[in-house]
């Protein structure tokens, strides 16, 4: 395959890009300048044509989402950039914000022009203090340079962009949970419909897009949808993708590939298995993604291929596990996460995630019974599809995959009344 030139991460490691001038020198803000000369609908069409799918986890067509915003002028429009990035295993948005804030600002500005939004909030998780500070500095300079404010680049288009810090809740990454939190309330997801495109922030039509999604937009405008479509697997899986790989690999980090790179390639690119150990399992797309076994090592990491294999690409947060890993213990930790993060509104998620954590804890500590595997599946069945938002469905992903794909491991815990995998010590004395 021809050498792939990084698109989204081209400015990583270039501190000069943190200033407007430095960013411009690399071709930055050309996309915004070009968009301002296009009709907003034409911008939407270009993004639609590119096949850009949401990079936050849902994989919904970005252009299509933008086209849902009504054209009427009776209500202000908003863009909310989802920088909440709390899916375990995901850290790619942080990289983008800390190293190339103007790329995000430009992407947001183009989107605002396309949907006639005069205000953009970058909802960033509260823990990302450095990224928030970097963005604030970049925004300040953008205002000073006339890129934001009363007349974006002199076009007469008024745009305000602000950073809004969250306060520590994964559920605020859910789009309506985010809107509630933005409005100063508990981040509890809303009943849908109405959808945010109709009733979003402050009762007005709102687009919500992930950081990485928006960072793609300037490049699509500058280099064209056709160029963008040329990257990736097929017309439904296009563009460059950031893969955040962690766990038992030699060089954990964020790597940019055309979407659809195989897991094997991704693993090799990250230095291969940690300490040369054997791959046992991997999560392809964050904590909500069903776990895949080692035999899936050649799977193409795009939306559709991973979905067909019984998992999801999600945020492309890849967690690698070697042969020393206890799958029950790993899933128990994930179910603890979902229990902690459940907002508590709806009954199946509030009670079900709590119950699953308790059952898995029992199993982990050798207090499980033969019926627990079926019990877990039954709980998953009662949560799935019945919860108010997608967190319920997310929580059951890893649990179902544990029971379906690693039944023997559960059985061992029950039979031996103990975890068959010794607790790993990663640091020797004096480390």
């Amino acid at each position: 395959m021809a050498a792939f030139e990084p698109v989204l991460t081209r400015n990583v490691g270039k501190p000069e890009a943190l200033s407007v001038r430095g960013y411009r020198q690399g071709g930055g803000y050309e996309g915004l300048a070009k968009s301002l000369k296009m009709e907003p609908d034409a911008v939407i069409e270009e993004v639609k044509k590119s096949g850009l799918r949401g990079r936050g986890g849902a994989g919904f067509s970005a252009g299509l989402k933008w086209s849902f915003i009504p054209k009427g002028k009776d209500k202000p429009k908003y863009l909310v950039c989802n920088a909440d990035e709390s899916e375990p295993g995901t850290f790619k948005d942080r990289l983008l914000m800390e190293h190339d804030p103007h790329q995000l600002i430009e992407g947001c500005a183009i989107c605002c022009w396309a949907v006639s939004a005069a205000t953009c909030y970058i909802y960033i998780r509260g823990e990302y203090t450095q990224a928030a500070a970097t963005l604030e500095r970049a925004l300040k300079e953008a205002y000073e340079q006339g890129i934001l404010g009363d007349s974006v680049m002199g076009s007469g288009f008024k745009l305000d962009m602000y950073v809004h810090r969250g306060a520590g809740a994964y559920i605020c990454g859910e789009e309506t949970g985010m809107l509630e939190s933005l409005e100063g309330k508990r981040g509890q997801p809303r009943v849908k419909p109405p959808f945010p495109a109709v009733v979003g922030a402050f009762g007005s039509p709102t687009v919500i897009n992930n950081v990485e999604t928006l960072c793609n937009v300037p490049h699509i405008i500058v280099r064209g949808a056709d160029w963008y479509k040329g990257i990736g697997t097929d017309e439904r899986n296009t563009g460059p993708k950031l893969y955040a790989i962690s766990g038992h690999v030699e060089r954990p980090g964020t790597y940019e590939y055309p979407i659809g790179v195989t897991f094997r390639e991704l693993l090799d690119g990250a230095g291969g298995m940690w300490k040369g150990r054997t791959l046992k399992a991997f999560i392809p797309g964050g904590a909500s993604a069903p776990i895949l076994k080692a035999d899936q090592i050649d799977i193409k990491m795009d939306f559709d291929t991973v979905a067909k294999a019984g998992s999801m690409l999600g945020s492309a947060a890849v967690i690698v596990m070697d042969e020393t890993t206890c799958m029950v213990r790993s899933v128990a930790r994930l179910s603890k996460f979902f229990n902690h993060e459940s907002c508590g509104q709806c009954t199946p998620c509030r009670e079900g995630t709590n119950w699953m954590e308790l059952v898995l804890k029992r199993l982990e500590h050798g207090e499980g019974t033969e019926r627990d595997a079926q019990l877990l599946l039954s709980i998953c069945k009662n949560i799935g599809g019945n919860s108010l938002c997608a967190l319920g469905d997310a929580a059951i992903g890893p649990v179902k995959s544990l029971v379906d794909r690693f039944p023997e491991e559960i059985h061992q815990h029950v039979r031996d009344r103990a975890c068959p995998f010794p607790k790993q010590r990663y640091f020797s004395n004096g480390a």
Binding site: G344, Q345, T347, E351, W355, L358, N382, G385
Partner: protein, 563 residues
Amino acid sequence: MPKVTINDRTVEVEAGTNLVDAAMKVGVQIPHYCYHPRLSVVGQCRMCLVKIEGMPKLQAGCSTPVVKDGMVVRTDVPEVAEAQKGMMEFFLLNHPLDCPICDQAGECGLQDYSFKHGVAYSRFQYEDKRTYPGRERIPLGANVLLNMNRCIQCTRCVRFTQEVTKTAELGFFNRGARTEIGTFPGKELNNDLATCVVDICPVGALTSTRFRFAERVFYLDKKPSLCTGCEVGCNITVEHRRGSIKRYKPRFNVDVNDYWMCDYGRSTFELYKTTPRLVTPRVRAEGGNGHSPVTPTSWKDALDAVARRLRGNQETVAFLGSGFLTTEEAYLFGQLADLAGSPHRSVPVDLGDPHTIPRHGQPPISGREAAPNRRGAELAGLAPGIADGKAMTGELLTSDELVHGDGASRCSALVVCDSYFSRAAYDPAVVERLRKAKFLVVFGWADSPLAQAADVALPVATHTEKEGTFVNVEHRVQRFDRAFPAQGQVRPGVEVLSDLLSRFDAKWANLSAGAVFDRLAATVPAFAGLSWHTLPATGAPLHLAGVPGDAIAAETAPGTGIE
């Protein structure tokens, strides 16, 4: 209007109606906890999941509006039953088995749906239930107690204080399985409608301090009635066990009190239980100027004594009415006053703190008068200065002169229509002034100091022991029925007055409250066209053109936080 088909039954509904309400119109009950017609839709409890043709996942009925034709809904399929079972299991997972000690047993949403939609066994065997240590009996205010372990987090109570009373004392705290409801530390839930959260709580998490452990609900007889706390006339249910009232609960009336009633109104039945009652007619021996001994007598003797004194030439006979009289009783008292040729009538009422009830789609209703029927009593014949339908001039002995002045000393006879017409009846100075009348007749249920000072004391029923009508602050006449019979010698006021009046003219004999109402409707213009048997269950507005008196505007209540 769009049509929707639910379990093969099609119905036309207003656009925007949700499926829970639409299903009710065709007799299909979709179980639900968090949904309430007066609260925002949150779709949280997930109990109302239904199958909609063409949609892969089950949908929450409460948050699915009918907007156009063609929706086909099923609740009678295995998928829905499985979901309901699953939800019930989740609800009961961490719920304590408190039924034997929980007030809610018998009217509990978990019990009812468990029976209908749940399973009879628990799979939660090896884990500990989540509890809220130290939150098992927290007074949220004077009238409401919280047991957080029982809460199913439906958030009705929180939304009630945010959206209905707009006082926002309650909040939803923490997250996930630790969510709980409560007040800000140190603050209390003490708004006028606080106990309404107990009504809307589907389980025994919120209980009424007054009703706690008072009675098992399955032993309660429930009879529709009206509250007598003030002039709003909230529709209530009197819940009693063999004549011992255990509580009042509000009854839905969209024109008066919607789904609500105030805490003060709920407390008013206690007066009936703690106030010593008049149990037998009593007559004071003649002579002795009001201080001769009093003896119990028969009804016949008592009424004869009254008739004797009211007949013939009387210089001044005054009638002190009461806002607690039913319209029918007031009408008969008015007739008695007409027979005695007396224009000296009035209906005193105490003024108290305003009680305001928010309503749906109209301004709130509010009342300051601490009795239910001053208006009805005045319209029926006790308005000052009117005798035989004609206005009278000259000096009038109204309640001001009688209660606060020396008017009673100028009376040859004073008929007090209610021994507890106001707090003044318990004021010794007032009793002393009223006792100056030469002949004092007191009707009433309370054995007040005024009744004890009477020459003839006549025991009549409380409003729960009789039927009648009250006219509320908006001039709506509402009918109430008897909750349970009076005991012993006590008789309903209409019966007593009919008996008394028949001694003057046989046309008054053996009248029921209904018959009196119909007569009154034939003569009093405000009631024209109404009849006892056709009075709508939610009451009827009166015709007030040309009637002097207050307008129908409801007052807003300052300082209660209710708009």
